[in-house]
Amino acid sequence: MTTARALLPRLAPLLACLGLFAIWQVASMTLNTESFPTAIEAVRAVPSILGDKESVINILDSLRRMAIAFSAALVVAIPLGLMMGRSRLVASFFNPLLMITYPVPKAALMPIIMLWLGVGDLAKMLVIFLGVSLPVIYHSFQGAKAVEEKMLWSGAAMGLSAPQRMVRIVLPAALPEILTGCRTGLVLALITMVTSEMIARQSGAGNILFNSLDMGQYDTVYAMIIIIGAMGIGLDAAFEKLRSRLVRWSEPGFDIPLSFA
């Protein structure tokens, strides 16, 4: 009995997916239009995509661009956010710029960027870079701002210089918040990755999706949606694993203090 109760939370995500598929199946059977294949048809099309060398190369191409742009964004956004969080001057300089760029849908910039950089990798990576940067900057900024002054003073008394305090106190202290930003950034990277390929068709997962949409191959379209969704779940789960390992010290599960003076 206890094993069943322990098993249930683990099975819950799977049950949720099955439920979604069931609703999809019923809905498509009721609507019965060509452009809305049933879940079973879509799932059946998945292996044929993954078995096709061309398609796999396309998907890997997307992932490569995403990985490069995501990493570049972290390298720029984390230090910038941390500096904004600790220096009023830096914050007041960059804040208006961010406020302007924040509401602009990054994919909408794609046509303009394509004019500068062409339809190749660079333009797509720049769009992903922009999409990822903003939440990471924002969360790094919030994390750095919340660092306790007394913690920095303690470090200064030990002889840490200002740059050392930035790297060895502000960075680790803000890490839980930074990683929250990175997690949002990762999902946004996937979204901008697909939309950038919708506008600049050349290669990639989005390319397969929108080309098959144009050609009316609806089972492939939905199969690609399933594949992209699965990539999202996979990346998020992997990142979550890494995150919880890095900030084990701040996890709420730890929150029961031992009591003794």
């Binding site: 200064a156 008394a157 010290w249």
Partner: protein, 297 residues
């Protein structure tokens, strides 16, 4: 006059004289003769003005002059908002005074340094480090070899009563335990002066008493100079050689009371000692006076 070679601290060394840097970890011979007590901290005509949110100038400290001798335990006592913590931050080098200056061992304080170790009410531990990691942080920063810092830190952790908790994270500890770690972390880099900013203010009465006792025991071993900020009269009298009573804002020194109670002090004996009771009553009366001043400026 050629006298015997004096070890350790040279009393009365003025700035400009040859100062032999005494390594804190090097112990002098047992029972070193303390010559005429030398000044460890000198605060000279310090005033501090803050700008409030309404852009008004708020005078927090007004014309404070105070000398703290080497090896003395001095408490700064006053009502909240009297600037007593600000004074400690000035000595720590975390805040620079609007007027006047503070010196440590004759040198003007321009910033924080490992000769002055703070212990804050908020603990300010590094939450991503274990107890051991926190205590080792200072020595490692000072270039002490890893193995040596490890051994020293474990001894300190044992001294503050946390043996067995070396690999715990701050989150897993109670407030009292956190403050023990904070004390060990500061003692680990051998500051000449301990700056304690209401260190037991956030703890319950029982824990507070235990930590006061333990602090005295630790302090009586090596008699570092301590500057201790508190608003508890009992605490100040129990711990200190001198109690500096401050007035309500703007903070001024109202009176300095020498606490001539014998050491080592034991709480149980002290509480029954009429001299102790007299000090407490006397100082409480001074503080009541300052509150009156606050009401009728």
């Amino acid at each position: 006059m050629v006298g015997p070679v004096t070890h350790g601290k040279t009393p009365g060394s003025k700035a400009g004289m040859k100062v032999v840097p005494s390594r804190p970890e090097v112990r002098t011979d047992p029972a070193p003769v303390r010559g005429p007590a030398s000044a460890m901290i000198e605060i000279e005509r310090v005033s501090q003005t803050f700008r409030t949110a309404g852009r008004q100038a708020h005078l927090a400290l007004s014309d404070i002059s105070l000398t703290i001798e080497d090896g003395a335990f001095v408490s700064i006592l006053g009502p909240s908002g009297c600037g007593k913590s600000t004074l400690l931050y000035i000595v720590g080098g975390f805040v620079s005074p609007t007027e006047g200056e503070a010196r440590v061992k004759g040198r003007t304080i321009t910033g924080p340094g490992p000769d002055r170790g703070p212990v804050f009410q908020e603990f300010a531990l590094f939450p991503w480090k274990t107890v051991l990691g926190n205590v080792m942080y200072g020595p490692r920063q000072q270039g002490v070899k890893s193995a040596e810092a490890d051994a020293q830190s474990r001894r300190l952790i044992e001294m503050v009563g946390l043996k067995g908790f070396e690999n715990f994270y701050p989150k897993e500890l109670s407030g009292g335990m956190k403050q023990r770690v904070a004390l060990a972390r500061t003692l680990a880099y051998h500051p000449a002066v301990l700056l304690m900013d209401e260190p037991f203010g956030a703890l319950d009465a029982h824990t507070r008493t235990r930590l006061q006792n333990d602090l005295l025991n630790i302090w009586e071993r090596d008699r570092k100079t301590v500057l201790f900020v508190t608003h508890s009269v009992d605490e100040a009298v129990f711990l200190s050689d001198k109690v500096v009573v401050m007035t309500r804002a703007p903070g001024r020194i109202k009176e300095i009371v020498d606490i001539a109670l014998p050491r080592p002090r034991r709480r149980a004996e002290l509480l029954l000692d009429p001299r102790y009771q007299k000090y407490v009553v006397e100082i409480e009366r001074m503080i009541d006076d300052t509150s009156e001043e606050g009401l009728h400026p």
